[in-house]
């Protein structure tokens, strides 16, 4: 294996888990999240020597997220016309404690439009600033602020009274 391949493997191995968490919160599906991350890393591998020459570590991390987001959002657009809603969530889900926390939050996130979901994940899982999120999503900071506000309002509505229970976990 050459140096570039080893270098890529090191980068990918240390980032895959985090990217997977981002992907899973956005798509809500374990296997799809795995595919999102693999596709992202594959696309980076294809141009790795050039990326490595021109980017520092934060630049590579930002690049990985941009590719992931771009692929996720375009994938969602393609799927939207063929997806069937098999069940709708109640506005006030049952109390969420322990293992159910993940399901409740994941399902609440799934009720947001894909771009809103991406904003929430980048802002609150990744602790990205409004400006960073705007750069990653190719949006204006004002648009991100608006998406963020609307997303939080929607989440409050979805989680309803059970929000207090979530905070106790």
């Amino acid at each position: 294996m050459d140096d570039a391949a080893l270098d890529f493997e090191e980068f990918a191995s240390t980032r895959a888990r985090r990217l997977f968490h981002v992907a899973h919160l956005m798509c809500g599906d374990w296997h799809q999240a795995q595919d999102l991350v693999q596709t992202t890393l594959a696309k980076m591998y294809a141009v790795w020597p050039r990326l490595r020459r021109g980017q520092d570590e934060p630049g590579l991390d930002a690049y990985a997220r941009k590719v992931l987001l771009r692929y996720y959002l375009s994938h969602r657009r393609l799927r939207r016309t063929t997806e069937l809603v098999i069940a709708d969530l109640p506005d006030s889900p049952s109390p969420a404690l322990g293992p159910e926390l993940r399901l409740t939050l994941t399902e609440a996130l799934r009720r947001l439009p894909p771009r809103n979901r991406a904003v929430v994940v980048l802002r609150y899982l990744e602790d990205r600033s409004i400006e960073e999120v705007a750069d990653l999503l190719d949006l204006s900071p004002a648009a991100v602020k608006s998406l963020n506000t609307r997303s939080l309002a929607k989440l409050r509505g979805i989680l309803g009274e059970d929000r207090e229970l979530l905070f106790l976990v």
Partner: protein, 288 residues
């Protein structure tokens, strides 16, 4: 308590509760797909360059099958440009320099090629079983798409023996056990394509609830022969015969898809050593 102030903790906690992803496998798969992507871009660039040159009468058509190891892509964006305007449709690979080590294509190299040609899926039960008599190399592997696992077998070698012809009554050398597929009730078609490739397609008899297979043999004008078989279930060779159970009504890959796969110019008798290494690394990752 306000949702915004607690959301970070909740999302982190939610992520921590997730089962750990198979990082080693994901990285190996990503590298395999990345290499395949890079190869396709190289072939595309080489094909475009040769086609352009052919227009002015300077290059023969045989060059279309030759992948370029060194090329320069005019107008390709720089890495710094990608920092501000990244795209999921990334630019072509950078130029490589220096001699590229090559070796006779092994089953691992063939696996790497196949995985680059098929959509993403899960692989298992790799069996590097070549055809009898040492006529090339081969393997069989289970490939799972959204509909579940089925077996795929590939044999690659130099063209030898009589021309591909349905009248011969059997397939050219295939993976162990597959010689027995040429039974009664099957259908066979053979044709010579405009570029000189000879393609033979054979389907076993269609019987409800039975194991079925489709095989396509391609003998290219450059002397490379590829036989690819797809089944409607997972199969194993036992005492020279195939056994297995159907998992779906039809083979995962139809004759047209198999023909396109078999005729792909990436099947070569010698390939880059890194491709073989990649196939071996990737295989070991999912065999753990």
């Amino acid at each position: 308590m306000d949702l915004e102030s607690e959301l970070s903790r909740l999302l982190r906690q939610s992520s921590q509760e997730l089962a750990a992803p198979p990082v080693v496998l994901m990285v190996a798969e990503a590298a395999a797909r990345g290499r395949a992507l890079r190869r396709r871009r190289r072939l595309a660039v080489a094909g475009s360059a040769v086609a352009a040159a052919a227009l002015v009468g300077t290059v023969g058509a045989t060059g279309l099958l030759r992948p370029a190891r060194t090329h320069a892509v005019a107008g390709a964006p720089t890495a710094s440009a990608l920092t501000s305007t990244p795209t999921a449709d990334l630019a072509a690979a950078p130029a490589d320099t220096g001699p590229v080590p090559t070796a006779a294509t092994t089953a691992d190299g063939m696996l790497a090629i196949l995985s680059g040609l098929l959509p993403a899926g899960r692989y298992s039960h790799f069996d590097p079983a070549g055809p009898p008599g040492g006529a090339g190399g081969g393997f069989r592997v289970d490939y799972a798409d959204e509909a579940g696992p089925t077996s795929i077998a590939v044999v690659l070698g130099a063209a030898a023996g009589p021309p591909l012809d349905c009248a011969a009554g059997r397939l050219p050398p295939a993976v162990e056990g597959e010689g027995g597929w040429g039974g009664p009730g099957g259908s066979c078609e053979a044709s010579t394509l405009p570029d000189g490739d000879r393609v033979l397609s054979y389907r076993t008899e269609e019987r409800a609830g039975s194991l079925r297979g489709v095989s396509v043999a391609s003998r290219r004008a450059d002397g490379v022969q590829v036989v690819i078989s797809s089944y409607n279930g997972t199969v194993r060779a036992v005492d020279g015969r195939l056994t297995g159970a159907p998992t779906r009504s039809a083979p995962a890959l139809d004759p047209a898809r198999l023909s396109a796969l078999a005729r792909d110019p990436q099947w070569r008798l010698t390939v880059e050593q890194e491709l073989i290494d990649e196939g071996a690394t990737w295989r070991r990752a999912w065999q753990r």
